[in-house]
Symmetry: C2
Subunit: 193 residues, 2 copies
Amino acid sequence: MSETAIAGYDYGRVGPSPVGKDDLEALKAAVLFGPEDEAALRRAGEVLGDQVEAILDVWYAFVGANPQLVAAFAGPEGEPVTTYLDRVRPRFGQWIKDTCLRPYDEAWLAYQEEIAERHTPAKKNKTDHAPSIDHVPLRYLIALISPITSTVRDFLARGDRPAAEVDAMHEAWRKAVILQVALWARPYAPQLW
Amino acid sequence: MSETAIAGYDYGRVGPSPVGKDDLEALKAAVLFGPEDEAALRRAGEVLGDQVEAILDVWYAFVGANPQLVAAFAGPEGEPVTTYLDRVRPRFGQWIKDTCLRPYDEAWLAYQEEIAERHTPAKKNKTDHAPSIDHVPLRYLIALISPITSTVRDFLARGDRPAAEVDAMHEAWRKAVILQVALWARPYAPQLW
Ligand code: HEM
Ligand code: HEM
């Protein structure tokens, strides 16, 4: 359905990841990501599902307010490329749902590697034919764990669940983001990853 | 005083970082790290200061329970090198205090780069003449943001401060760890950092 309508969203249509299931399990253990987090993410998906546009508004405003971040969406003259920002946005929205609702299986691992490469010279800009810089700096990828996590709490709280439940969903979200950023670091440093 | 007695702890005695003050400010903004976090870290330093050994017990137990992490402290036969673990431990303890109490100035930036390099082939093992693998995998460096942050909350709560204050200290700690891991990623991917 609507997923197939998202330009450049290639979940299920990319080659296998070089990262195996065992690597993923070891990484999950290091992040303290367990079955209760998976369950909490499912519930978070229900709460966040119809708030995706509002979440993206907050994130895009944050990026827009930070020149060092906008730079990754900028063209040769340094001006933000609106079509690029607009085309990435629904994929980002879908990622919120995928993070909460997809099983973290081989198809998921494969798309993690694809997202990773889309932040590096291997694939950045290609999906959207964007005239922009060739990679997202690794330090900002890691740094954004902070706002991408802290800003989600208010949206989780709007679901009218008990505070302990909001905390559990928020912790699961946090771990899921850290897990993914760890996976996305691979093509930045394949030898030392 | 006791700092100078920590073997291999070279704060204030290493060359300048390639990362400048402006880079640091841009990174702090991306992490949402502000003056109120600095203030909260000072208070966290007071609460954590005399609990350092107990915190290290928790972290060392976590590493010890995870073979994929112990590997970074293992010798050629795969067995943990006790002298290596023991020598790093007081530096790790001092890092807890430094994270809370040091100003994030040029000396601090310089030592961040030193810690970064000590996780990579440039300098790992050298300080302690350890017969171990030549780098800490980047993915685990990022992954450990999770346990290094979540485990600190109980210790912050033992300070008998109001819950809101514990939350503020915990958030500041979290951002400080993310900020440092972002800095430590530099020598892993100097071109794409
Ligand atoms: C935790 C941090 C981050 C998350 C969760 C994240 C998430 C995403 C997602 C889901 C996509 C779309 C993937 C797809 O094509 O299906 C994307 C693409 C993109 N992101 Fe990020 N991102 C993060 C950090 C950053 C940072 C720090 C920047 C730069 C300031 C950035 C800039 C971009 C750009 C330019 C694209 C489009 C890449 C392309 O050309 O295909 N991202 N990101
Ligand atoms: C957030 C994550 C991490 C933090 C905050 C951290 C912190 C530190 C600190 C403060 C030191 C001592 C620095 C000094 O010499 O003054 C250190 C050293 C070390 N860490 Fe980490 N670390 C992290 C992740 C990891 C991981 C994932 C591993 C591997 C499993 C690891 C293995 C080591 C080793 C082997 C050393 C000794 C390096 C040497 O030979 O000098 N660290 N770490």
